[in-house]
């Protein structure tokens, strides 16, 4: 019995070590957003300051890069979420002959290395003679976000009980009403997580953006990449930390909320 108990501690301990490993660069990045660094380089700890947080736009190029990223991510997410949600519903709810072909063509973009997708799209735009800019970057971002939206929303559609929609139809609701009053609200958590994932992927993308921006569109990751050889200023850490904290708060908030809802439902039963 004693041996077994000791054995049960190995797994939690291993997991804690793994989690610490996962968190080290995050803690490091956040810590160095408070570094009182002079100039561009932010490699050596020089004392605690909140100055960088209070005046992020002291480096206007960082703020404009973040603005560019936000616009690109918002538009890409919107389009990818609409297209992806429609596909996810069709994939789960209807059986049709080309299903497995569609599944495959949705899986392949996720299985394509970014460098291949980036070079392929850039080559297409080059051959079409469209030039590079916001449009090409957004078209590329929608492309790589689409499959991830489908996967996320599809998981939610699968948990949906068709009986609820049938009940709606039995009560003489027309298909549009059934969709907006029953299906859509039930799918919303899945759609929101798909959109969040899409936004996160788009906001953080570097490789595909680099190939399709033609050097004219500087997103936040592009800014960091270009700055990397000269030194990334602490303001970049401030932005990344703020994005991280915001994302974590959203995720934790939804989890705690769903936990409370579940408890209430159980209490009613």
């Amino acid at each position: 019995m004693r041996k077994l108990r000791l054995g049960r501690l190995v797994l939690p301990l291993y997991s804690v070590i793994a989690l610490v490993y996962l968190l080290i660069p995050i803690v490091y990045t956040i810590a160095f957003s408070f570094n009182d660094s002079k100039g561009r380089t932010n490699t050596i700890w020089q004392g605690f300051t909140v100055a960088k947080w209070l005046d992020v736009c002291a480096r206007p190029d960082i703020c404009s890069a973040v603005g560019t990223s936000l616009i690109i991510s918002a538009i890409s997410t919107l389009v990818a979420t609409v297209l992806g949600t429609a596909m996810a519903i069709a994939l789960v709810r209807y059986s049709f002959r080309a299903r497995s072909l569609v599944s495959l063509s949705l899986f392949l973009p996720m299985a394509t290395p970014e460098v291949v997708m980036g070079a392929g799209l850039a080559g297409l735009f080059f051959n079409l003679g469209t030039g590079y800019g916001y449009t090409t970057v957004i078209l590329a971002h929608i492309m790589f976000c689409l499959s991830f939206v489908v996967v996320t929303v599809k998981a939610r559609v699968q948990t949906l009980d068709p009986v609820l929609e049938e009940a709606g139809r039995d009560l003489y609701a027309n298909p549009t009403a059934v969709f907006w009053r029953i299906t859509f609200p039930l799918l919303l958590p899945g759609i929101v997580s798909g959109a969040l994932l899409s936004f996160a992927l788009s906001f953080d993308d570097f490789i595909i953006t680099y190939f399709n921006s033609g050097g004219s569109v500087t997103t936040f990751p592009m800014y960091i990449y270009i700055a990397a050889s000269k030194g990334v200023p602490a303001e970049a850490n401030v932005i990344a930390s703020a994005v991280f904290i915001l994302a974590i708060v959203i995720v934790l908030g939804t989890q705690v909320a769903s936990n409370i809802r579940q408890k209430r439902l159980l209490a009613v039963k």
Partner: protein
């Protein structure tokens, strides 16, 4: 998933909705998008890969022909990069699996009785996704910098020569690759383990199987779909990554991978045929891997 009790997709045959038209309306926009911005670019890559320099001799201009010499060039001249890409990807995927499986097992099975803690721990697992990819790589770069406290500590601990360094070595690149792609491994593993019906494990235990035998004969086979998709989702992006291996991040002069060469040929040298041929080689290998996977498990498990 092959697990009978998992609630599978409700197939509505004879649905009162006119399914044909609805399917087309729901599917067509997305499929057209995939065709235009995924399939055509891949075909465009293949076409570019067999082009030759333009007769005018202008840099960056190529004309259509059917010349396979770019393939010969990339396979011969970039052999070290191709080897490194798949070598690094293999080692990094294996390490990611060894770190992730116990972690996913702990979160997916041990923490099942505490749903809130389970979800919170899962958030920590995916937390690296939320901080800039480039900045978390730079964080490791600074942690392992030659004159960093970490390196001084490690050198002191192991009595190493002060000239011993980590940054710029294949080890540092693999370290970065493992870190940056590990959530892609942990998440599918977690999904498999979280769905696992513990009664199977109890049944095996009741039949006097040792814990090791239960794991080898029940747990592992039932979570194989997670292992396979985690392996694919980790291995594939790693083969195409070039950020970790580049000199401004964790790499050095002898760590360049396929992605570094594609980037250099495409964006710096304007050698589009070579960049395309190298991309095509990478894509071909990946399609073979995906093909073997699809043959084994079918397309339903892909998404």
């Amino acid at each position: 998933m092959g697990i009978a009790f998992s609630s599978s997709a409700p197939k509505q045959s004879g649905s009162p909705l006119k399914s044909g038209k609805i399917v087309i309306a729901l599917m067509l926009p997305g499929l057209l998008y995939l065709g235009m911005f995924f399939m055509i670019p891949l075909v465009s890559l293949l076409v570019t890969s067999v082009e030759t320099p333009d007769a005018s001799g202008a840099i960056g201009m190529y004309q259509y022909s059917f010349d396979l010499s770019s393939y010969q060039h990339v396979i011969v001249d970039y052999a070290p990069q191709i080897g490194r890409s798949f070598g690094f990807a293999f080692v990094a995927t294996l390490i990611a699996l060894l770190i992730s499986y116990p972690l996913a097992y702990f979160v997916g099975i041990r923490l099942r009785s505490r749903p809130l803690i389970q979800k919170l721990t899962l958030t920590l697992v995916i937390a690296p996704f939320f901080i800039s990819f480039l900045l978390r790589t730079i964080a490791w770069k600074q942690i392992f910098a030659d004159d960093s406290a970490t390196m001084n500590f490690i050198r002191g601990l192991l009595h190493l020569d002060p000239s011993v360094h980590f940054l710029g070595t294949p080890g540092a690149v693999v370290w970065g690759l493992v870190y940056n792609f590990i959530p892609f491994m942990t998440l599918p593993l977690y999904t498999s383990l979280e769905r696992l019906d513990l009664r199977y494990l109890e049944a095996a235990g009741d039949l006097y199987a040792s814990p090791a035998a239960v794991f080898r004969k029940v747990t592992l086979p039932l979570t194989m779909p997670g292992v396979i998709s985690g392996t694919l989702l980790t291995f594939i992006p790693i083969t195409g990554d070039y950020v970790n291996a580049s000199r401004d991040f964790l790499g050095g002069p002898d760590t360049s991978m396929i992605g570094n060469m594609v980037q250099a040929d495409f964006l710096q040298n304007s050698d589009y045929p070579s960049a395309s041929a190298l991309s095509a080689v990478l894509m071909a290998v990946i399609l073979i891997i995906v093909g073997v996977y699809v043959k084994r498990t079918g397309t339903e498990d892909l998404l």
